[in-house]
């Protein structure tokens, strides 16, 4: 069931276009992440859905009903604010029941519903506490319970984890997902943090300058970015720029600066040869391994010199200089291998299918 639909929504502030021709749909129980740098229009999109702003063009539909002109209190949206925005003069129970009281929920059933919500977010017995007596993580749970209490059609999470410290963020990520799926909430997560977007979302939309750049499953966005912007925004990448030629069997040859020749996967959508950027993810590059190319499948292999090594616990990050002077970032799982910090000669290899071709300068 299609719970939320944005259809060609455009929002302008004077001459500034905050959101331009944005369309997407969210199904019941689905989690959609809106990802982008600050000023990309994701927060305006959130305000269009919650009703604080009305679109200049296009429409916001809840289960097929146009929400045009409906104020936030005339829609049924659950909104989790980045700073939680708990009412400081009310107890936890009063905060959670606020929406129920305002929406004329059956008075006798309010305490039951509040207890249910507090149990859901694992805050049983916190009813009479004040927001300022709670930790950041607990405050967020109260805010989530408050947002979900009225059984909203759409739940909007604004940077839900960014106010928490790294360790708590890790724990809460899975819990948040479990809570949302327990109530089968149709959710939109707005964030600038790619980890947050990819870990929470069933589907991710990358936005830039008010426009949707790409939409897809997290793995698809990561493995198959359609533009240089998306590839750079999500994860780390090494870039080669050059001319494509000799496309055969879905593999083309790239002649890049510094005399580098490599085989790349030919994108389905842009068969024209010419100038392209090629992205290789750091973890797709292998160091020192002599991978035999099977049959005629081409393989990229070059010599390189290690310039720096950083141990990050589970991972090793290496900086490798290749002929022509370009520095590549390479990530390896740490399994006891040892590299010299600088100067060691290594061979590096990577598969053509791990070379993602995007239009130059996109």
């Amino acid at each position: 069931m299609r719970v939320l639909e944005l259809s060609h929504a455009t929002k302008r502030y004077g001459a500034f276009v905050a959101v331009e021709d944005v369309s997407f749909t969210v199904e019941k129980g689905q989690i959609l992440s809106l990802l982008g740098p600050s000023g990309c229009g994701k927060t305006t999109t959130l305000r269009l859905i919650s009703g604080f702003e009305d679109a200049n063009e296009g429409a916001v539909l809840f289960s097929g009903v146009d929400m045009k002109g409906r104020r936030p209190y005339e829609r049924n949206v659950g909104l989790l604010f980045q700073d939680y925005a708990l009412f400081p003069h009310m107890t936890v129970a009063e905060n959670v029941s606020y929406g129920l009281r305002r929406r004329n929920f059956d008075k006798g059933k309010i305490p039951v519903r509040v207890a249910e919500m507090l149990a859901l977010v694992k805050l049983k017995g916190f009813d009479d506490r004040r927001p300022n007596q709670l930790s950041g993580g607990q405050q967020q749970r109260v805010a989530l319970a408050r947002a979900l209490a009225t059984n909203p059609e759409v739940v909007l999470l604004d940077e839900p984890l960014s106010a928490l410290d790294a360790k708590l963020r890790h724990e809460l990520r899975f819990e948040l997902k479990a809570i949302l799926s327990a109530v089968n909430a149709t959710t939109i997560v707005v964030t600038h943090d790619q980890e947050e977007a990819m870990s929470l979302g069933d589907s991710v939309i990358v936005m830039s300058a008010g426009k949707i750049m790409q939409q897809g499953a997290p793995t698809e966005i990561y493995a198959d970015p359609k533009t240089r912007f998306v590839a750079e925004f999500i994860g780390r990448s090494n870039w080669f720029t050059g001319e494509l030629r000799n496309s055969t069997n879905g593999v083309a040859e790239l002649k890049a600066a510094g005399g580098i020749r490599m085989f790349v996967r030919m994108p389905e959508s842009s068969p024209n040869l010419g100038a392209f950027d090629v992205c290789v993810r750091p973890e797709r590059i292998r160091i020192g391994a002599d991978i035999q190319s099977s049959g005629d499948a081409p393989m990229n292999q070059m010599r390189g010199t290690i310039r720096d090594v950083a141990h990050l616990g589970a991972d090793l990050h290496l900086l490798v200089e290749i002929p022509g002077g370009q520095l590549l970032t390479v990530t390896e799982k740490y399994i006891g291998q040892s590299f010299e910090r600088a100067g060691q000669e290594v061979s590096i290899t990577f598969f053509p299918q791990d070379c993602v071709v995007v239009p130059s300068g996109s």
């Binding site: 209190y73 659950g78 925005a85 009412f87 003069h89 009310m90 009063e94 606020y98 305002r102 947002a147």
Partner: protein, 289 residues
């Protein structure tokens, strides 16, 4: 030298100044208020006997009227001032254009620099027989010389003085209020009015209280406004004190009135603060049960 000693030394000049020019003169007034006054003299005699007569006098209806009048105008004008100032302060605090916000704040700060005498005569001209606001008497169907019309002008005079100050006091309170709270309330189904009533207002009570107390204190000590705009019909305790001191040179009586006023004002201010604080904690308990 230890830090404590140094702190004490640094405080000493201020403390000496306070003692010499604030505390001792006040003690002088207290002493004077208990002295016997011989009509015709200027102030009490050097070795005049102590008496409670000056305080007993205050209980007479003629004197009590001044107190009642001062408090009536003080409470009324302060209430009107905060009711009028709150929406103004809110719109200034939430003004999106920084240029307009600065302009508005500058205007209210500038208003505070205006001499009371200038305000008073400006209002007298406005409400006087040639002023544009003269029609008000006609609209209200009262004589421009009636007591009601005079009282009205005094209230306007006080408001002219109180509104800029209470706007600036409330501005801080509202600026400290997280605007997301109102948005959270609206998303949870409360209309804008309802959100202001259940979120903005309760959270602004401390600010409203201090604005009210500042206004109230300023009203109690108002002197020029009732003197000029009150035309002798509206007189505050300050005017009474002035009359006792300057017109008949009865310093002991003037001092007694001043001390009584000070004590009543302190009791009123502490009383109001205590009542509001108590009301607040009761309300909280009521809600959580």
């Amino acid at each position: 030298m230890s830090t404590t000693k140094r702190t004490v030394l640094l405080l000493l000049p201020g403390f000496a100044l306070f003692l010499a020019f604030l505390a001792l003169p006040l003690a002088n007034v207290v002493d004077e208020s208990f002295r016997f006054f011989e009509p015709g003299r200027i102030g009490s005699a050097k070795d005049a006997p102590y008496t409670l007569l000056n305080y007993a006098e205050i209980l007479e209806p003629a004197y009590l009227r001044y107190f009642a009048e001062t408090f009536r105008f003080g409470v009324l004008s302060s209430l009107i001032a905060i009711v009028v100032s709150f929406p103004i302060a809110y719109s200034v605090a939430r003004q999106r254009s920084p240029w307009l916000r600065k302009l508005a704040i500058g205007f209210f700060v500038g208003m505070m620099f205006l001499s009371t005498l200038v305000r008073v005569y400006a209002l007298q001209l406005t409400f006087g027989s040639t002023g544009y606001a003269h029609f008000l008497a006609g609209v209200l169907n009262v004589s421009p010389n009636s007591r009601f019309y005079t009282e009205l002008i005094v209230v306007f005079g006080l408001l002219h003085y109180l509104i800029p100050i209470s706007v600036i006091t409330l501005l801080g309170t509202i600026q400290n209020l997280n605007p997301r709270l109102i948005e959270a309330s609206q998303v949870l189904g409360a209309s804008r009015l309802r959100s202001h009533l259940s979120i903005t207002l309760p959270l602004c009570v401390p600010g409203l209280l201090s604005a009210f107390l500042i206004c109230f204190t300023l009203c109690l000590s108002a002197f020029v406004i009732p003197m000029v705009l009150g035309k002798g019909k509206v007189l505050f305790v300050s005017n009474l004190i002035y009359a006792r001191f300057s017109e008949i040179a009865d310093y002991p009586s003037g001092s007694a009135v001043a001390i009584t006023m000070l004590i009543i004002a302190l009791i009123a201010i502490y009383g109001i603060t205590w009542l509001v604080a108590k009301g607040f904690s009761n309300q909280d308990r009521g809600r959580s049960s």
